[in-house]
Amino acid sequence: MSILRMTKTLIKNLFHGPFTVSYPIEKKETFDRTRGSIGISIDDCIFCGMCERRCPTNAIHTDKARTSWSIERLKCIQCGYCTEVCPKKCLMMENHYTEPSFGNVRDVHVKCTNTQSPSES
């Protein structure tokens, strides 16, 4: 019988329950390699600007004078090129995705530096 070929599959599905995940109550687990978003451990950063120059979408901006590192989340394409070229390996690819947002979001990280040198105090 060549009609109703789907019946077996359909009946199986009827008793299986949903194959989908009911987001956002339940979240799909990520893998170790999942490229979610770029993270930085700002204390190790030397603001060399390598990530800024290599970024294919110009999402990253570094400022040596203000010791700040910022990334425009919607511009970033999570290619991970910056994490590869970072000489201090202080950039990393995190597993979680960025939060949904309206408009452009620029995440700014500023390194706290002790402006007073010990001898002065």
Partner: protein, 359 residues
């Protein structure tokens, strides 16, 4: 002679995953002529090569299209490697082949789903895409991305797959093969499906050649054309034969693609069996100078990459001729004298990838 009307088809249409516009000249219910209009997703990626250096462009090349993204990255990297005379490690070649074949699998599964959707078989569409999800999970586990992998690099690949994961892939394949057989049987044997696909959009062998058809479109008409037989990446070490059908209608194209899915599974198994140990990347230094044409087989057919470099960091030109672009003349020909109700199926039958086409 009946009434002539012009029906605009697209750019937004339920069966179209991507925007293409066709002006259909109808005579009563029959299409007399179709005039294409593209450019809705034109991003000027070929021009972007002047602003991004050749290393960065690896990531841009991948983003030409979301479905054959890996093949685009691979094609671009192969061209640059050829210009620079870099020989990539064996293991990288095998890894590239595995990802390329998985891409084919996921592309064809997606196409099957869309086809089912085009003739109104919703549950079959869901089943195909449910299967595709497993491929995407393999991608995420091995590369980190679900559609855009960013693993291909000039000189090799960025990430390795370890033994346990390879073993897991084999398990996934076994499970998928069983489920795929179930839905493939529906596409091939169900008489309601056959009613919609049999004899629709027939293209004879000569006509397919004269129209420059490529990939599954040509193979379904009996033209034996598969760039993989040229043995790029690891294909030279694998045992396979292009899948060919004679009929040249939608049904034959479905059969070819289903055949290629089982073939892709077989090729991945062969790759895993033959995978050598070793490095996954060689260091490539300097800037490319020269030009090269690379051709490889994408899920939709042969793609041509032309890279011209001038010895600086920035390339002169990257040209991508994608299979969909070459299949459009064949589509326009099959649309002639078909009924309006068959238009969605005929458009889907070339597996249109508009982002590829417009770049």
């Amino acid at each position: 002679m009946g009434n002539r009307t012009i029906v605009p088809f697209g750019p937004q249409h339920p069966v179209l995953p991507e925007p293409i516009h066709l002006d259909l000249v109808l005579e009563d219910e029959t299409v007399v002529e179709a005039i294409p209009r593209i450019g809705y997703v034109h991003r000027g990626l070929e021009k972007l090569v002047e602003k991004r250096d050749f290393q960065q462009y690896t990531f841009v090349a991948e983003r030409i299209c979301g479905i054959c993204s890996f093949m685009h990255g691979m094609g671009y990297c192969m061209s640059v490697e050829s210009i620079m005379g870099a020989e990539i490690p064996e293991r990288a070649k095998f890894l590239r082949t595995i990802w390329a074949e998985f891409s084919r699998l996921h592309s064809h599964l997606m196409w099957l789903g869309l086809l089912a959707d085009a003739f109104g078989f919703e549950s079959l569409f869901m089943q195909s895409w449910k299967l595709r999800e497993q491929v995407l999970d393999v991608f995420e586990e091995t590369t980190g991305g679900r559609v855009i992998f960013s693993v291909c690099d000039i000189g090799g690949v960025r990430k390795d797959i370890n033994k346990e994961t390879l073993h897991k892939i084999l398990e996934v394949l076994d499970r998928m093969e069983k489920e795929l057989k179930e839905i493939a049987a529906v596409f091939i044997n169900d008489s309601t499906v056959k009613l919609r696909t049999r004899g629709v959009g027939k293209l004879s062998k000569q006509a397919a050649f004269d129209l420059g058809a490529l990939g599954p479109m040509a193979r379904a008409s009996g033209i034996e054309m598969d760039m993989r037989t040229q043995g790029y990446a690891a294909y030279g070490k694998l045992d396979f034969k292009p899948i060919i059908d004679e009929e040249g209608d939608c049904y034959a194209r479905t059969r070819v693609r289903i055949g290629e899915m089982f073939q892709a599974m077989d090729l991945i198994r062969q790759c895993i069996r033959l995978m050598p140990e070793g490095d996954i990347k060689v260091k490539v230094t300097g800037s490319p100078k020269g030009e090269y044409f690379t051709r490889l087989e994408q899920p939709r057919g042969e793609v041509l990459y032309y890279v011209k470099a001038n010895g600086t960091k920035f390339l002169d030109r990257v040209r991508v001729r994608t299979p969909t672009f070459a299949n459009v003349p064949a589509l326009l020909e099959t649309l002639k004298n078909c009924s309006l109700a068959d238009v969605p199926i005929l458009i889907l039958t070339i597996d249109p990838c508009i982002s590829c086409t417009e770049r």
